[in-house]
Amino acid sequence: MSTLQISEIVGHFGPYGGRFVPEALIAALEELDAAHQAAAKDPEFQKELAELHRTYTGRPSILTEALRFSQYAGGARILLKREDLNHTGSHKINNVLGQALLTKRMGKKRIIAETGAGQHGVASATAAALMGLECVVYMGEEDTRRQALNVARMKLLGAQVIPVTSGSRTLKDAINEAMRDWVTNVEDTHYLLGTVAGPHPFPTMVRDFHKIIGEEAREQVLQLTGRLPDAVLACVGGGSNAIGIFHRFISDEGVRLIGLEAGGDGVETGRHAATITGGSPGVLHGTRSYVLQDENGQTVESHSISAGLDYPGVGPEHAYLHDIGRAEYRAITDKEAMEAFSILSKSEGIIPAIETAHALAGAMKVGKELGPDAILLINLSGRGDKDVQTAAEYFGIPLDGNAPAGK
C-alpha cells in the first residue's frame, strides 16, 4: 500500500512537519536528531530504556476489558490500554524517560519543558529527579491556577515552575517561553518537548518513544480476542498518546484509527481546540500542520475544559494521516467528555483524565455505530486525580465534604 507509506524525508509527513525555527536552534536540532538516530540503533540505549520501562514506569501497561462501560457504547467490546497506571499517571513518562536519557547522552545538564495540564511537567520533573538533571517547567499562568496540585507536585520533585504571563497564558504561550529559553541557553539545555509537534526531529522522536503503547496493545488485543480491533481511539491535543497507540496499526488496513479532538463548547461556536476538525494548514511552533488561525495567520486561542488538550496546533503526522484518509478526527464537546468521565468512573471504578474522557466519549459514539460485534481499543492515556477539582466544580460536588452531594 504505497499510499500508507509515511514520508519522512527530512522530517516531513507529506506537506507537513519540517523545521520553521530561528537559525540559532538548527545546530541543537541536528545534534538531537543525530543522538536520537544513534540511540535507536544502540542496543545499550534500548536496553537501558526497556529496563526503566519495566522497573520504574511499570510497563507493560495492562489491558482492561470494560464490561460494564460497554453497555454505554452500543454493547461493543471495550478494551482499555491502561497508560493511566504508569508511574506519574499518564503516557507522558514514556517520552520523558527517552528524552532524558538522550539529554545525558548529549552531555547536557539542564532540561526545560512546557506543560498544559501539568502531566508532562510532572513527568519531566520526575525524570530530572531520577537522572540528576536541573529542570525548569514553563506553565501558563491560567493553567497554574487550573492545575495547582500538579504545580505543587513538580515543586516537590525539585523542579522550578515558571508561570507564563504572556499571550493567552496557556500551553501555547508556555511553548513560546520555553523556546525563548532554549534559544538563549541551547548550549547546556535540552528542550524536552512533550508532544509530537514542534520542529523535526520532535514529531518523529516523540512518536518513537510512545509507539510502545500500540506495540504492546496490538499483542494484548490479539492474545485476548484472537483478532485485531475494529477501531483504535485516542484523544488528540498535540497528539502524542494517539500517535503512540495508532502507529503500530497504521499498516493494518482494516483497523480504523480515530482521534478525538476537544470540541469545547462546540466547533460551530468557535470556542474549541479541535485543530484538525476546525482549523487549516499553517505553521506554529516550528512545524507545518493544522492550526487554529485567523485570516492573517495569527493563532486563535483554543478553548477546552481539558488543559491538556487546550492547544491550537496538532502534530504534523496527524495532519498527514487525516489528509490521506488513514485516520479520522472528530470533535467531542466538553459536555460529552464530562458525561463519559462520569460514566467510566461509575461503571468501571476508573476515574480518567478529562483529556482521556474525550476518547471515551468517542468510543460511546463509535460503539453505537458499529454495534456489539465490534472491538474497540481505547488509549486510557491518563488518570483523573489531577482533575478532581475541575470535575467536582463541573458536577456541583462541594469540596468541603459537608454540603449535600450534587449530580
Partner: protein, 266 residues
C-alpha cells in the same frame, strides 16, 4: 535590476560607513501613529526601515517587542496595514522591507505576498523562522518579484551552513549578535564580530548586525566591522516609556540622530 536596499549598501560601503536600519512593528503604537514613528526615523536620518508584521507567537522576541506586538494586534493590525506602513516608509524615500514570522506569509499566499511587497516598492522580507530547507516556494516567489529574501544567521550556525544560507540570501545577511531574543543589552556580544568575519569568508553580501543594540556607542562599535546596524527594541521602548506620544516621537528622533552618528564612527 537591484533593489533600493542593495543600492543603499553600495552607497554606504563607498562612504566607508555602516547603514542604520530601524525597526518598528506596523500598527504600533496605533495603526496611524506608526506612520509618525516612520517619519521620525526619516527625520532622524535613518538609512533603511524594517516594518514588523505583528504575530501572536513571536518566539524570537523579548518582552519589549512582544508587548508592542500585543498592542498592535489589539489595534486590529492586518496584512494591509503592514503593507500600508511599508509604503509610507518607501514614499519617504527610504529603502524598506518587512520583517515577519513565516505563518502570516503562508496564510497570505507566498507568491501573492512577494508581489504585494514589490508592488508597494518594498525591497525585501526578513524571515527569522524560515529555514533554507523550507524555502523553495519562497525563493521562486522573491526571485519572480525581484525582492530580497533576508535570512537571519546565529552564532551557533556552522561555517558550512553559513555558506548554504547566504547562498540563498539577498540584500544583506542578518547576523544575530547573541544567542537569545530581541531586546536592549548592556553590551553587544563579543561573538558578533567573529560571526561577521565567518560570514565574510563565505559571502560578499553586506552583513547587518541586530539584537541588543540600543546606544550610539554600541552602534559605533558594531559599525567598525559590519555593513549595517539594526535597532528595534530601543525604539519600541522609547515609545512605551514616554508619557505622551509627542515625547515618544521626539525621543525616537533623538535616538535615531545619535545612532546615525554612531554608524558613521562618531
Amino acid at each position: 535590476m537591484s533593489t533600493p536596499l542593495e543600492e543603499l549598501f553600495v552607497k554606504t560601503r563607498a562612504e566607508k560607513r555602516a547603514a542604520l536600519v530601524a525597526y518598528i512593528p506596523a500598527g504600533f503604537p496605533t495603526i496611524k501613529d506608526c506612520h509618525r514613528v516612520i517619519q521620525a526615523f526619516v527625520d532622524g536620518g535613518v538609512d533603511a526601515i524594517e516594518i514588523g508584521f505583528p504575530y501572536s507567537d513571536p518566539v524570537m522576541d523579548g518582552p519589549t517587542i512582544q508587548e508592542a506586538a500585543v498592542k498592535s494586534l489589539e489595534n486590529g493590525t492586518g496584512a494591509q496595514d503592514v503593507l500600508d506602513a511599508l509604503e509610507v516608509a518607501v514614499n519617504a524615500g527610504v529603502p524598506s522591507l518587512v520583517m515577519t514570522y513565516w505563518n502570516p506569509i503562508e496564510k497570505y499566499g507566498v507568491e501573492k505576498f512577494a508581489s504585494a511587497i514589490a508592488a508597494r516598492g518594498g525591497s525585501g522580507v526578513i524571515h527569522p523562522d524560515l529555514t533554507i530547507e523550507e524555502s523553495a516556494g519562497w525563493l521562486a516567489a522573491t526571485d519572480h518579484s525581484q525582492i530580497n529574501p533576508v535570512y537571519v544567521v546565529a552564532l551557533s550556525t556552522s561555517d558550512k551552513r553559513l555558506a548554504q544560507v547566504t547562498a540563498n540570501c539577498g540584500g544583506f545577511v542578518y547576523a544575530a549578535s547573541l544567542m537569545g531574543v530581541t531586546g536592549a543589552r548592556a553590551s553587544v556580544s563579543s561573538g558578533a564580530e567573529d560571526l561577521v568575519s565567518r560570514i565574510r569568508a563565505v559571502s560578499d553580501l553586506p552583513v547587518s548586525v541586530g539584537l541588543g543594540v540600543s546606544t550610539r556607542e554600541q552602534a559605533r562599535e558594531v559599525a567598525a566591522y559590519a555593513d549595517g546596524v539594526i535597532v528595534g527594541s530601543a525604539f519600541v521602548k522609547a515609545i512605551l516609556d514616554a508619557p505622551s506620544l509627542e515625547e515618544g516621537i521626539s525621543a525616537v528622533t533623538h535616538l535615531v540622530r545619535e545612532l546615525a552618528l554612531g554608524v558613521r564612527g562618531q
